[in-house]
């Protein structure tokens, strides 16, 4: 289709209308869903794509989910000739190698949008299904059912055989079914709203505006890169968690030349562990960080990626190939995000922040419900410190970078699962010292009210989140086991009444602590953000 030029006001109105559509589909998904991970923690995303599979608009939910979206439509197009795709088809997929996903619990449903009999766009949503737990992570076959893009609906008709196959492989099938229905409901809204938009402005105008918005994002990104000095900057960090022995060396080399930027990553070979990242996960992480630092207002569409070139060795933990396991890829993504910030700190120090908690700390639970013996599965992620900025302290106890899920209210958690929350608090002295203090980590204490199994996924136990320009490092992440609880690696059995705690890492400080405003240090002391020893020893405040 030859697309025509559209005036800037119409482009803006259509761009905002597409943002409204992805927001509304997201709200529909959240409101109709049953699992706590979606209805309360909002671990889901929605987006619109054009017929070529380019992102038109992504809702402001979870940046890493873009990784699952990036390759999905091309995968579908490779498998199914366009002329075989019909209105009312819905494709389900989750595979990291054949389905465009970044880990198996993120199940994507994509539905084509037809206008006047032609495939014009796609509405796509992703929900992180709280399933796929208590598995192995030596390779992806251990991690659960792999679903290439297949039709869950064909011309509006449910493919029950496919659904049955999927549900039989799930630990909590009833909840999966409800959540899948919510995903279908969300796409239905997406189809209707997009068709209404096309009816109002004309399909040609809407698609042209989509193209113009990508050009606009590209232009903004190029302008922002061009405003940086040319040069090459390198940054290194290490990765550690329970699944790997010792630490793994990671590095990035970031080059700015004119209005383009390239990022070359170096990383060890992929491992028999869940920490591997697919290329799409690496791309989603990179796009997120560069947009945040250079211009947060750039619209989240495919245009912003055009000036960026990303490379990592094929078969490494940052660009893995089948059959590497990928379930815990978010820990690695977070480390990569901070590494890019470390590289950008050299040319544009005033726009970055020090290392955040560099983790996405997770607790997975599985057990039998006391009332009927059915299986329950629960997972949640816990925020931590956010890095100090060039003129401000870091944020305490928040989700950073590629993830941004809500906590589950205690009152919602305890009514659904046989767990009791004993404490949820900020950790004293966990933020790195500095002229500006790093954000504090969180401590969350769980007590089992009935026997269950728990697995934890955390990092920064053997390394620390670095400060910048003289700022100190954040405190380590750790697990505290209550009496009688023994962790075997990352797993433990909890008997009724037993407890354990997850402590998430603090973030790095910015600037030398000697330059901290004494009043700010005194306030930290009064509020218990720092100990008396730190106040006296580092800042010379207190008695």
């Amino acid at each position: 289709m030859k697309l025509s030029a559209v005036d800037p006001i119409t482009v803006e109105v259509i761009g905002a209308a597409m943002s409204s559509i992805v927001e509304e589909t997201g709200e529909t998904l959240i409101r109709a869903s049953h699992s706590t991970n979606i209805k309360e923690r909002r671990d889901c995303s929605t987006a619109l794509f054009n017929a070529a599979g380019e992102t038109l608009c992504q809702a402001e939910h979870i940046p890493i989910h873009l990784g699952s979206f990036l390759d999905l439509i091309p995968h579908i197009m490779r498998r199914y000739p366009t002329q075989d795709i019909r209105p009312g088809d819905a494709f389900i997929g989750n595979d990291a190698y054949e389905g465009g996903g970044t880990h198996l619990p993120d199940i994507v449903i994509a539905e084509p949008i037809f206008i006047d009999g032609k495939l014009a766009a796609w509405t796509v949503n992703l929900a992180h299904h709280a399933d796929f737990v208590d598995r192995g992570h030596a390779h992806i076959y251990q991690e659960g059912l792999r679903i290439p893009p297949v039709r869950l609906y064909r011309s509006g008709e449910l493919q029950k055989d496919v659904l049955d196959l999927v549900l039989l492989n799930m630990q909590v099938p009833k909840e999966r079914l409800s959540d899948l229905r919510a995903q279908m409901a969300a796409n239905r809204v997406g189809v209707q709203r997009f068709q209404a938009l096309a009816a109002k402005y004309g399909t040609d105008t809407v698609l042209s505006a989509g193209g113009a918005l990508m050009d606009y994002a590209e232009r903004k990104m190029r302008n922002a890169i061009a405003a940086m000095p040319d040069g090459t900057w390198r940054f290194e960090d290490v990765f550690d968690n329970e699944e790997v022995a010792g630490t793994l060396a990671l590095a990035v080399e970031l080059t700015v030349r004119g209005d383009a930027m390239s990022l070359k990553f170096d990383a060890p070979e992929q491992m028999r562990a869940g920490i591997n990242m697919t290329m799409t996960a690496l791309l989603a992480t990179t796009y997120y960080v560069v947009k945040s630092v250079l211009d947060p207002s750039i619209p989240p569409n495919a245009g912003l990626a055009r000036p960026l070139q990303v490379e990592a060795p094929l078969g490494s933990i940052l660009n893995c190939v089948s059959p590497a396991a990928v379930n815990g890829r978010l820990q690695t993504c977070q480390r990569v995000a901070d590494m890019i910030l470390g590289a950008l700190a050299q040319p544009v120090p005033e726009r970055v922040m020090a290392c955040s908690n560099s983790a996405c700390t997770v607790a997975y639970f599985i057990g039998k419900k006391p009332k009927d013996g059915s299986t329950w599965v629960y997972l949640e992620t816990i925020g931590g410190g956010s890095g100090a900025r060039s003129a401000k302290d870091g944020l305490d106890g928040v989700h950073v970078h590629t993830t941004n899920t809500s906590n589950l209210p205690v009152e919602a958690l305890e009514i659904e699962y046989p767990l009791t929350l004993l404490r949820y608090e900020l950790v004293e002295d966990s933020g790195g010292v500095g002229q500006y203090r790093g954000g504090m980590g969180l401590r969350r204490v769980y007590q089992a009210t009935h026997d269950c199994r728990v697995r934890v996924d955390l990092t920064r136990q053997r390394s620390q989140s670095w400060g910048l320009f003289g700022g100190g490092a954040g405190a380590n992440g750790k697990v505290e086991a209550g009496p009688g609880v023994t962790f075997d690696g990352d797993q433990a059995v909890l008997k009724a009444g037993q407890w354990f705690a997850l402590v998430t890492p603090g973030a790095g400080g910015f600037g030398p602590p000697a330059q901290r405003d004494p009043a700010a240090a005194a306030r930290d002391l009064a509020e218990g953000a720092i100990s008396a020893a730190t106040a006296r020893g580092v800042y010379g405040v207190g008695d």
Partner: protein
Amino acid sequence: MSTSPGSTARWRVGVDSGGTFTDICLFDEATGRIEVWKVPSTPDDPSRGIAEGVEQGMKRVAAEGGAIVYFGHGTTVATNALIQHRGVKTGLVTTDGFRDLLEIGRQKRPDLYDIQADKALVLVPRDLRLEVPERVLYSAEIATPLDERAVRAAARTLKAADVKAVAVSFLYGFLRPDHEMRAVAILREELPDAFISAGHAIAPEFREYERLSTVVLNAYLGPVMARYIKRLAPRLESLGMTAPPHLTQSNGGVIGFAGAADMPVRTILSGPATGVVGAQAIGRLAGFEDLITFDMGGTSTDVALLQGGQCRLASEATVHGYPIKAPMLDIHTVGAGGGSIAYIDEGGLLKVGPRSAGADPGPVCYDKGNQEPVTTDANVVLQTLNPRHLLGGRMKIRQDLARQAVGRLAKRLGLGLEETAQGILSVVTANMARAIRVISVQRGHDPRDYTLMAFGGAGPLHAARLARELDIKRVLVPANPGILCAMGLLLTDLRADFAGTRLLPATDDSVGEVSAGFAALAERAGQWFAHEAIAASDRRLARTTDMRYEGQNYELAVPVPEGPITSQTMRTLTVRFADAHRQRYGFAPEADPVQVVTLRVEATGIVAKAELKSHPDAGPDASGAIAERRPVWLAETRGLVDTPIYARDRLRPGNRFAGPAIVEQMDATTLVPPGMTARVDRWLNLILEAT
């Protein structure tokens, strides 16, 4: 209700107290006469301005305070205290292990992409957030009894810290309030002068963080509102008024003074909600039900969208960064208005607001000591505003001072005086357009399908340019734009919402509890009706239930059929819920169990409303309304243009005139720019349309 002896007049009085002006609207139920009055606000003690304004207004109609049968009031006291963080020093007593919840919130960062963004200021610092051993479970069982000695110790710590308010919020306090009630009792003993607010009383709903945020905000604002009411009530009494005064709540309904003092958090959008109610009534009358309201005052601007005459009602919203659980109209506020200060930022760009000169000292042209030019000064320089006086001649102004102040900015920018003044207005217009996009485009509405209703003291002056920016074709300026909020109080029925959370299966087994629940709500509504002296024939009750499938956490509202609750009612509700679910989500798993979560009763008291008179058509010739001519500097011509100044009170229905023109009236000035035509409808609304 009483009226003064010997008089048949029954005055209903609406008062809108804003940051800059206090507006008074008087309506005589007996004769249908409407009078409006406007006085400068008195921000140090807003009750003074209100009492003075009412007194002057009543004098104008030669009536005594005793003739007032209804007093309705919209106030920005709570909002302003929140925006400016002028609430009181507040402490928190909460469940052991959870004091940081107020700061952690839902653990999401304030902005997904902007790493420089910060969370809203935490209203209780960590050292005033005290934990006490106690724990209730989801089953309402007590796992750990309340440690009363710890509560007493906490109370003494807070007393030593000299807090003026204390919030109490425990886990599951909404389900089993025993511990909160006991803690409140102890706190009252130890801190008899403090304002104490508990979660179960303010927001008895689940989700501990949003409830905590609401109750902390309530405590933080409580003494501010109490002080306000304590000053206002006796002033009104001393005018001889005996009718019980009311405040508008954020949902557009009204509440008595005592209720407002207990629950200031429910009045956080009082002022703007009043304006939306007024716009709704005027729009319905004039035949425009798809409206974007543009209420620009001295300090801030509120915008809202009405589709089919209705504004979306939210049960929870985030206001100025703080989650609040209370019914609220969907209104978006920006901190910019006629009093917003213009300045040059560190990057050399011209910025306007959010700092405001307010009413005192006010714009430079008021000559009360302010040296920094504000939006109003820019209009005075360009002579879009009268360069000699405002408020229909009651307030003299100094154009020379405004010119000097804008001139200082012009020199730094290297621009001409008028270009700089126009630049200030362009920046303001762009800010306003962004605010309107939030409530229109971002909610899926195209502003071009709507009529812009401009009111507030500064709305009509900026509306035409704003409409042009958004490609809106029509602007409606009501007859009394400066006092629309005050008038709104007299154009609407009384309304109150009552709700109770139950969580019951939607089956026969629950008939008794649902029935009892509605009976209890109806009884509360009955008390409210009685308190408001609403006759039995003027009482309306609408019942709804919020329902969901077991396992969901969000509900859909389903209307409840008339009559007693029976097994048949429960079946009807289940069917209606499945229909609503199917309509909203496209599916309904009908075999799944359904829950009734919250019962709601909306009580409406039908009252005599101010009726705006329709006037006969007087033909298109508007020349008789031209009071004078003056040169006005217009962006379209980039120069002074000799412009007719119309007196609004002399414009008749059917009159038509083309821009450029200025319409002056006591409470507002309307600019009709070149390229637009104005006409007057039969309710004396001014309608501007692009030609």
